[in-house]
Symmetry: C2
Subunit: 461 residues, 2 copies
């Protein structure tokens, strides 16, 4: 691949930003999960949109696969260069280009971390509200339409993206959207590129919507006698139009894993982690509502975390779940699957998930963005144990079929990546010709992240 490296090096101002060394290739071979690593042939670190364009011109002319790489925190193999080629690491394009505090927007390069954007916004009393847990890049979050604990209030990443700059295969640069809060000008290409998982174009700049930091916030940990009661409480709070910002289900197995990992002493029963935020009066109103609904569902404990430190610890615990689950089976790989159902279906979907884990003899936790009907099941899998992988495949299949039967979807937020292609085909067989047509329109030579969302050409699986 010396030839490829040399050609790519000629496209960048500094040839040192192209490498085919083993360690760099290893670092760009996997995501955080059990998905099998695959090394790229070369790793490229562009500093500018112009450099991305030159790389895509070269790659398109030669038919070399290009897989964009941000923080590497996706969960369905999105960043694994399945067919080799170039891993396009955008993390050095990490400048906040503009922060318009009065206009509640910011323009950032794709590689800016959400923590960096949030810190810059915070200096103006503002925040970027989408919280997928991981400290992802804004470009990666746009590419995967990331969501998470605050989606119930602020929507997924798509709701926070006003405009994009992206580079098409071949190197043409396009700009979608504007800085206005809304637009009806033309087909919604911003929305189409958001969530396209790097298969249509490389997102190089993102114009995001910012929000004021609420003046007041309180977190609650509410313990329930069973997961059904926790789910019903969440459903009732959504139906009541409460302004809560987070409504997180954590089941007893997961609480136990957290206690073991963090040394905490949360009661090992199903919990909702809730946050209310807004004006002081609005928060107090929401807290009363949460207390009333939870009591009606037989909540056994309600703990308020009113100071910022205690609140932060509760959300750090929630975000530590992935590590806590991993710590239950050192050496194995983490497989988190993600389905989404109508909110009233969540209690039954959770019950099916627990029964299926038990039947398949898999150890795992169930958590959910309960206000969104979004359910995650986390298990540990040894990628070299074919039987265990097969049982985890069976788990995923049964969860997806159950979600579809309930009117839901095979993924609420983790996306398709390499891991859910067959399930996308199962869910939307009638849409596959349109998906393929859109892919061919943007990427006629099929160089963009091949083998993600859609099967790669020639992959007859």
């Amino acid at each position: 691949m010396t030839d490829l490296r040399a050609v790519l090096a000629s496209a960048l101002a500094d040839p040192g930003r192209v490498t085919d060394g083993d360690s760099e290739r290893d670092l760009h071979a996997s995501d955080l999960t059990f998905h099998r690593p695959q090394r790229p042939d070369a790793v490229v670190y562009p500093l500018s949109t112009a450099e991305v364009a030159r790389v895509l011109e070269i790659a398109d002319a030669r038919g070399i696969p290009v897989t964009p790489f941000g923080a590497g925190s996706s969960l369905e193999g999105h960043v694994i260069p399945t067919l080799g080629g170039i891993s396009l690491d955008l993390t050095r394009m990490n400048r906040i280009l503009e922060l318009d505090a009065a206009g509640l927007s910011a323009v950032v390069q794709a590689g800016v971390l959400r923590s960096a954007l949030d810190a810059a916004a915070g200096a103006h009393g503002l925040m970027f509200p989408v919280d997928p847990g991981a400290d992802a890049t804004i470009g990666g979050m746009a590419a995967t339409n990331a969501a998470g604990t605050t989606t119930i209030r602020y929507g997924k990443t798509r709701a926070s993206v006003l405009a994009l700059e992206a580079v098409l295969p071949g190197g043409r640069v396009i700009r979608t959207g504007t800085r206005a809060p809304k637009s009806s000008a033309g087909y919604d290409l911003t929305g189409l590129l958001v969530g396209s998982e790097g298969t249509l174009a490389v997102i190089t700049e993102v114009t995001v919507r910012l929000h004021g930091i609420p003046e007041h916030a309180v977190a609650l940990r509410v313990a329930f006698p069973d997961v059904g009661a926790a789910c019903r409480t969440a459903a009732a709070l959504v139906a009541a139009g409460s302004g809560v910002t987070r409504l997180e289900l954590v089941d007893a197995w997961t609480v136990a894993a957290l206690n073991a990992h963090l040394g905490s002493r949360y009661p090992e029963v199903p919990c909702l982690f809730v946050e209310a935020a807004g004006t002081r009066t609005a928060v107090e109103g929401d807290l009363e509502l949460v207390a009333a609904v939870a009591a009606a569902e037989g909540a056994v404990e309600i703990v308020h975390e009113r100071d910022a430190g205690a609140r932060a610890r509760l959300w750090e615990a929630r975000h530590a779940v992935a590590y806590a689950v991993s710590a239950t089976a050192p050496g194995k790989g983490h497989r988190t699957t993600d389905v989404c159902v109508p909110v009233p279906e969540l209690p039954a979907a959770v019950a099916v998930a627990r029964a299926t884990l038990d039947r398949l003899d898999l150890q795992g936790g169930i958590l959910g963005h309960a206000g969104d009907g979004n359910l995650h099941v986390s298990v540990m899998v040894d990628p070299d144990d074919a039987a265990e992988v097969a049982r985890s495949d069976e788990l995923v299949g049964l969860l997806v079929e159950d979600a579809l039967a309930r009117g839901g979807t095979c993924t609420g937020e983790h996306g398709i990546g390499a891991g859910k292609i067959a399930w996308l085909e199962r869910e939307h067989p009638d849409l596959l010709p349109l998906y393929r047509g859109i892919k061919a329109l943007f990427d006629p030579h099929g160089i963009m992240n091949p083998g993600k969302v859609l099967r790669a050409a020639g992959d007859g699986r």
Copy 2:
């Protein structure tokens, strides 16, 4: 066109639902505005998705244009069959197929009026929140991504659409999305079809998100010494993250037109019409915030409308603006143009709009969804007075150029239709090849609403 009528009649269960009579064709020749009428060759009233599919199969095979028609309340000529052909009137597909109160969703046929959906939802304490003013059909609102007074809180129609059934040219039926509150399964075809203005497919069913009716709501009319103060108040309320549901700017000229039309006695100065809704405590908090911000901007009067009747009258007055403006020049046509800018740019954009109206000797009102930076300028135009039409064209052009210079867009919510094609080309020249590619993917023979969003084939304007 007897042949066309006979062929279409064979596609429907009742041949009486195809007509080429003059009166029906006249009723489907125009929208509510100054845009020049054009009659279809035939009007078809399908009752089912299967009938729509048969019509699209016939039309596609013969290259006959198809223009979907709902309430006919769009403002940029969307429903005018520019090249003749079939006006596909979906208003008889007006059944609410399912209302899942616990799941906060409903499945409706495209011709259901938003008032009908809202009434059905209201029986369960729920509402469909998007309010464009007109009593549009849900299919039309989805096709145009309608927005309006409540967008600041609930988003545009796209945010309320979970899933679609649509018929492609040729007659193939597709289903996008699911009933789950969120999904990351595949490219966002739901979002792409929403706002595609009938140029890609015919939307036949819409699965919408419903919301709880807030327990308490208060409307405010706040009078200001000048429009700048009104706009700055709106901007400050948005920045503060207030939970207000409506933030409407009405300028002095428009208040005067309302008074003349309704016999009301509102002070003829720039006003914000505001609504706060939520729990009682949240509303009181927001009202305090509005009062404080407005006072700091020199508000001269704040009137609270606390009972439901008075609140309704205030919003009826807001929605009567189009009629009030029309009443200022009987016999002329109404031209409302719509641009959107970053919220802090709104005061200057409004000032430019007023100065441009004056300079061009046009009588008109300025109103805006001030919380969204969305500005409408309404003027009366005699379609047969070429000079007046030219001056209104000049007005639109200057407003769009000004909005683009401020980082905004040529349309915040009214869409492109036939009226803004040149401005879409001005705003997004780099995206035209992708727009055309998407059009060709869905509609290879160009039968769907030709001459809207994109120029019709062979139109070399």
